[in-house]
């Protein structure tokens, strides 16, 4: 099961995640920081999740992938 983690203290609100994978990420209306919509993405969304993790500029996102 893969699980997305987001560190809201590290997030700089650049919005790359919400732009790259809007099904998985949103931004808080008040502070612009990441909101994870789906913590455990289905298999078909996992590559998008990985891409969002790679593109996040601040290193706020991670995806733990267990077999």
């Amino acid at each position: 099961m893969a699980e997305i983690r987001a560190d809201r203290e590290v997030c700089v609100g650049a919005g790359m995640c919400a732009l790259t994978a809007p099904e998985l990420f949103d931004q808080d209306d008040e502070d612009g920081r990441v909101v994870v919509l789906v913590t455990r993405p289905e298999a078909e969304l996992r590559e998008r999740a990985r891409e969002a993790v790679r593109l996040c500029p601040s290193g706020a996102l991670s995806l733990s992938e267990e077999a």
């Binding site: 700089v12 609100g13 650049a14 919005g15 949103d26 209306d29 612009g32 920081r33 500029p57 601040s58």
Partner: protein, 394 residues
């Protein structure tokens, strides 16, 4: 391999080509010594992977007092004044940035689409009324981002024109340092007045929001924040629109990709990747750091070349070709790390509206002069075109 250091500034090799010395580094020379304008010796890196790792590394600082001044006047810089977080490190940087991120989200910026469409149409009407030829920079590329940022900040209507002129003055080619200084003081004075006005009568805009939301910001901090947004958001977007139009006119077969609503988003990303608007940014090592097999010593400054990283063949096939349909994700035109552009979602919306609107209104748009005669901003920190004379069939 030569050991002569390169010297900043390096001239772009053409309107669409980053400096040839840096492009040549893609052939097995990922880091090279670079002489900065103040005479200090630093480094330049060009691979996308290296650029990203330097920008994401907390051992590299963005504090402006640690690095040389990039502008031709040289000299060292004082620490960033309160509020100017582009030249600060976490936690100071984070404190200010978090106060603004809520205003620049993907959703909020998309909500501005209709208003930006309206602004674009108004400026196109004026262009049509004036009749060809016109300078696209003065009539379209510059005013749209200026109007948008004025509305966002809450600059009242009656000041916009004068204010826009002052801001345009800042990037005039022939201004003396004294004139520039006078313009700068004029803008800061005006923004200071605006901040005090917002305090007494808060309005529903970015500055109005910041004075009331209890963030505890001083007038000086607010003035500097506003100034930074102007400084970072105007020339960049304006030059993307100006130089982007030149690129599209040079590749007219690709114009339908940008006017098509299904493909415009990707087309804009490819223009961001391809055009060398922001030549790079600087970071200073806080301790010795290994970069590409070289030890960058504590105190040494590294310039990361965003345009050459965007032409990295490891990420982008045939990188020197403009292809509005290619897979563009992962470009670094907005930087990387905690300073990645705060205004990127706004810039995206502005470009997604302004390019298609222009080519839909004037399908026969073309240059009014030979391409070689379009004046390039070779001497400016933000690259682009000074003027773009265009014409069309009436």
């Amino acid at each position: 391999m030569t050991t002569e250091p390169l010297t900043f500034p390096l001239a772009n090799a053409g309107p669409f080509d980053p400096p040839s010395e840096l492009m040549a580094m893609r052939e097995g020379r990922p880091i090279a010594p670079l002489r900065l304008p103040d005479g200090r010796l630093g480094w330049v890196v060009v691979r996308r992977a290296t650029v990203r790792s330097v920008l994401a590394d907390p051992r590299f600082s963005a504090r402006q007092e640690l690095r040389g001044n990039l502008s031709p006047s040289g000299g060292s810089l004082p620490p960033a004044p309160p509020g100017m977080f582009i030249g600060m490190d976490p936690p100071d940087h984070t404190h200010y940035r978090h106060l603004l991120t809520g205003q620049f989200t993907v959703r909020r910026m998309r909500q501005l689409t209709a208003r930006i469409e309206q602004l674009a149409e108004e400026h196109l009407d004026r262009m049509a009324a004036a009749g060809p030829p016109v300078d696209l920079v003065a009539t379209y590329a510059r005013p749209i981002p200026a109007m948008v940022i004025c509305e966002l900040l809450g600059v009242p209507d009656e000041f916009r024109e004068r204010f826009g002129q002052q801001v345009a003055e800042l990037s005039r080619q022939d201004a003396t340092p004294e004139e520039q200084q006078r313009t700068l003081v004029g803008i800061l004075t005006y923004l200071g007045e605006l901040v005090r006005e917002k305090r007494s009568t808060p309005t529903d805009d970015l500055l109005g929001g910041l004075v009331v939301d209890g963030a505890g910001l001083t007038d000086e901090e607010l003035t500097n924040l506003a100034f930074m947004l102007l400084g970072a958001g105007l020339d960049t977007t304006a030059n993307m629109l100006g130089l982007g139009t030149l690129a599209l006119l040079a590749h007219p077969e690709q114009i339908p990709v940008i006017t098509n609503p299904d493909t415009v988003d990707n087309a804009v990303e490819e223009l961001l990747r391809y055009l060398a608007i922001v030549p790079g940014t600087l970071r200073t090592a806080l301790e010795d750091v290994e970069v590409e097999g070289v030890t960058v010593r504590a105190g040494e400054t590294v310039m990361v070349s965003l345009p050459v990283a965007n032409r990295d063949p490891e990420r982008f096939a045939d990188p020197d070709t403009l292809d509005l349909t290619r897979q563009t994700s992962g470009h670094v035109a907005f930087g990387h790390g905690v300073h990645q552009c705060l205004g990127q979602q706004l810039a995206r919306v502005e470009m997604r509206v302004a390019f298609p609107a222009l080519f839909r209104r004037f399908p026969t748009l073309r240059l009014a002069v030979p391409q070689e005669e379009v004046p390039l901003r070779d001497e400016m920190l933000i690259f682009g075109v000074h003027r773009l004379p265009v014409t069309w069939e009436d």
